[in-house]
């Protein structure tokens, strides 16, 4: 079970989430929704321990989440971030080309120039789905699933597949916490919590 109790989260003096409370139970799919910029991603990042809670608290199975305990809690979590399309290196490990032979220090004293690595293109919808399935299948023993806008870049068919995947996780008894604005995702959630804009 995950709990936010009266949590206020500030970054650089700016309040991103104010007095937010939520309980996400085991075996349920909980969806946090709200307009863009309302702090959905901030909440999930706080839960991962990437951002601190300024007021109130966050707990996992009754244990307080702090900067020191965050890593232990992350070991219990499977995480699907918002920018899944940028994780091309998770599916395709970069293999730099063997460069042309050149003179180097054994031969003379010329210093090489920096090699600019070519960046892979973003993942397409199918690949995003594939990475999500891979991540969750590797996290069978983890009791918590966190997903940030998991259907944002998916086609309607793949959106349904993603929802089914997350529902399956909940049916396995896991706590599934999703941030999403997609009506389909909201419809299939057991509990919906709306964040109002400040």
């Amino acid at each position: 079970m995950l709990e936010f109790k009266d949590a206020t989260i500030k970054v650089g003096g700016r309040v991103l989430v104010e007095h937010f409370s939520l309980i996400a139970r085991d075996g349920q799919l909980t969806c946090v929704t709200g307009p863009e910029g309302s702090g959905k991603t901030t909440l999930l990042r706080t839960l991962m321990g990437f951002l601190p809670v300024n007021e109130g608290f966050v707990s996992v199975d009754g244990e307080l989440l702090t900067i020191y305990s965050a890593h232990a809690f992350r070991k219990m979590m499977a995480y699907l971030p918002q920018q899944m399309q940028l994780l091309a290196h998770q599916l395709r490990e970069p293999e730099p080309l063997e460069p042309e032979a050149e003179e180097y220090a054994v031969w003379n004293g010329v210093l090489p120039s920096v090699i600019k690595e070519s960046r892979p293109g973003p993942l397409n919808a199918e690949e995003i789905m594939m990475l999500a399935e891979k991540t969750l299948s590797e996290a069978k023993d983890k009791p918590i699933v966190i997903a940030d806008e998991p259907t944002a870049l998916l086609s309607p068919e793949l959106t349904m597949r993603m929802i089914q995947l997350l529902r399956q996780q909940a049916e396995m008894g896991k706590t599934v916490l999703v941030a999403s604005r997609k009506p389909q995702m909201i419809d299939y959630a057991d509990q919906v919590v709306k964040i109002e804009t400040r």
Partner: protein, 251 residues
């Protein structure tokens, strides 16, 4: 320097009349630049040789170590400059890694492989200079690959951390990319058959009076040392940059 040596130097420099003449005929505006770099090269070489001469003459272990420290600091400045890391505090980490990595591999070569008087300036200075030069070259590639990968693929780091990996485990894909940036050029360079153009180091050893077999063996020792030192220095640099809390390193 006796009169004969000056005369021979002058005779050698006469050879430069061929490229200078060609430039004079075909690309005259490049001629002043050509003359300038030749003179600068001569002065640099002379100063370097006088420095090495002094180190060999004094032959003090402490002075040789001091020289290695100076080389490590100079090398770290070059790495910072070539990696375009303006205002970033990686210099101490790079300098310490260069010193430790080069010193350890150098001592192995001098004290165990060769083995010779390890701190004798006659051996210490050229072996350490070679290892330092190669390590600096490769570190420019490796460190820039590591830091730019971390900056560009921060999402990957967070994804791995978010899925329960420790900080060091989450850095492994970035370390792999840095290692490949060092190893790939090394593989390319080692795979070239030097049949028509000999490596300068080999030429130097042959001119210095070594037999071809001895030159081959020494070359092999030095290449092995260079490759090992570059990987060791890269590993140490990454760990130290991370420990010293460089701004590109996520925590």
């Amino acid at each position: 320097m006796d009169t004969r040596l000056i005369l021979h130097t002058f005779l050698a420099l006469l050879l430069l009349l061929i490229p200078a003449g060609a430039l004079y005929l075909l690309e005259r505006k490049k001629l002043p630049r050509f003359c300038f770099v030749v003179v600068r090269m001569m002065i640099q070489l002379l100063v370097l040789c006088l420095l090495v001469w002094a180190l060999v003459k004094v032959d003090s272990a402490w002075l040789s170590m001091l020289w290695l420290v100076a080389m490590a600091i100079g090398g770290s400045w070059l790495v910072q400059k070539h990696c375009e890391l303006k205002g970033r505090a990686v210099m101490p980490a790079v300098a310490i890694s260069l010193f430790v990595g080069v010193f350890l591999v150098g001592m192995w070569l001098l004290g165990v492989v060769l083995p010779v008087s390890a701190f004798g300036a006659h051996w210490f200075v050229p072996v350490m200079a070679l290892l330092m030069g190669h390590s600096v070259s490769m570190l420019i590639r490796g460190l820039s690959a590591y830091l730019s990968a971390l900056q560009e693929d921060r999402e990957q780091y967070e994804f791995l951390r978010g899925n329960g990996l420790s900080h060091l485990k989450a850095l492994q894909p970035f370390m792999r990319r840095a290692l490949l940036a060092v190893i790939q050029p090394t593989i390319s360079n080692l795979s070239v058959l030097a049949l028509t153009s000999m490596p300068l180091l080999l030429v130097g050893m042959l001119l210095g009076g070594l037999t071809p077999i001895n030159a081959f063996v020494l070359m092999l020792f030095m290449v092995s040392g260079c490759v090992s030192a570059s990987v060791l220095v890269l590993g140490l640099t990454i760990l130290l940059v991370d420990k010293l809390g460089h701004q590109s390193s996520p925590q």
